[in-house]
Amino acid sequence: MVRLITHNLLACHVKGCTSNNFPLEFKDVQLVPHESWGILRYRTKLPRCLDDDFLKTLHHVLLEIHVEEGIMICPNCKHNYPISNGIPNMLLAEHEIG
């Protein structure tokens, strides 16, 4: 299962792709539990005052939502990393390995 906390730790690692290679953009995703797409436009900057409701929402978004199927696209080189059965495929072809 790709929880959003894990997605937040993955960067593109194609040879030479070293800037603007994070966060990978989601495309065609299936979420579990079912949520609206808007949740995937989350930002990493947090407000200074974190109230309990916000923390509960953050916990839910980062730890309880899984991406089961979909694609993650590098914002820089546009490399596609598929997610299938909750497993991100971050393998590269020989010529792409740095």
Binding site: R3, T6, I87, P88, M90
Partner: protein, 225 residues
């Protein structure tokens, strides 16, 4: 005594493609069990297992450190292994997060000095260079043991990543056998990456697993910065 993870959901077909937990897996479990109190008092946040295979080792760590207190990242180059890892996590109620990749490449940019526990039971059996490279490319069971020159071809590549990833008080567990030249491994880790290590002699049984031509006479090395 911490119970060995339940692997009853895995079938003979799974073990055609994924390394079945054996003596070397269990010595790694023994080392973690011996260190259980220290590992808990570290209050780890992120653990990373390289080559998680069946998912047995990370599930075991999950029963020590708690299923929800730690993010259990697991990588494996073999897609069958990633499926088994996720299933074993579910079976043992530890949410394991497998990533199908070589070593820790896609995590390096984001996990600089922030992984508290790194676990690696590497392909350590000495083989020809081409056999080890071919096995990594094939992404199947052979990649779990074929280790190339001195059995260190894959492990040596990982050391620089360990130094990048490990948190200030983080700990790295590595399984090694005598043919890997353990004193030389320790020297390289210390001189090149300031990783201090000690050898844990846990098992001295000799096993010959004919199906894999894998023999085992090994130790666990625990290292930290």
């Amino acid at each position: 005594m911490i119970p060995t993870p339940d692997l009853s959901h895995l079938r003979a077909e799974d073990y055609e493609h994924v390394y079945e937990p054996a003596e070397d897996t269990f010595i790694l479990l023994d080392a973690l069990e011996q260190d259980a109190e220290q590992l808990k008092s570290m209050t780890p946040r992120i653990s990373l297992e390289i080559g998680s295979g069946s998912g047995c080792v990370s599930s075991f760590l999950g029963s020590i450190a708690g299923p929800s207190a730690v993010l259990y990242l697991c990588t494996d180059i073999n897609p069958h292994a990633c499926k088994c890892t996720i299933a074993t996590g579910r079976q043992n109620k530890v949410p394991l997060e497998p990533i199908n990749t070589s070593l820790a490449h896609p995590l390096l940019a984001r996990l600089h000095k922030s992984v508290d526990i790194i676990l690696f039971n590497p392909p350590y059996v000495p083989t020809a260079y081409d056999e080890a490279s071919g096995a990594q490319k094939d992404r199947d069971i052979e990649g779990s043991w074929a280790g190339g020159q001195d059995g260190m071809q894959v492990t040596d590549k990982f050391f620089s990543q360990v130094a990048d990833l490990l948190s200030p008080h983080g700990r790295f567990y590595l399984v090694a056998v005598a043919q890997n030249n353990i004193p030389a491994i320790q020297r390289r880790m210390e001189e090149n990456y300031a990783l201090e290590s000690k050898v844990r002699k846990i098992s001295s049984t000799f096993l010959s697993l004919d199906t894999l031509h894998r023999s085992f006479f090994g130790d666990v090395l625990a290292a930290n910065i």
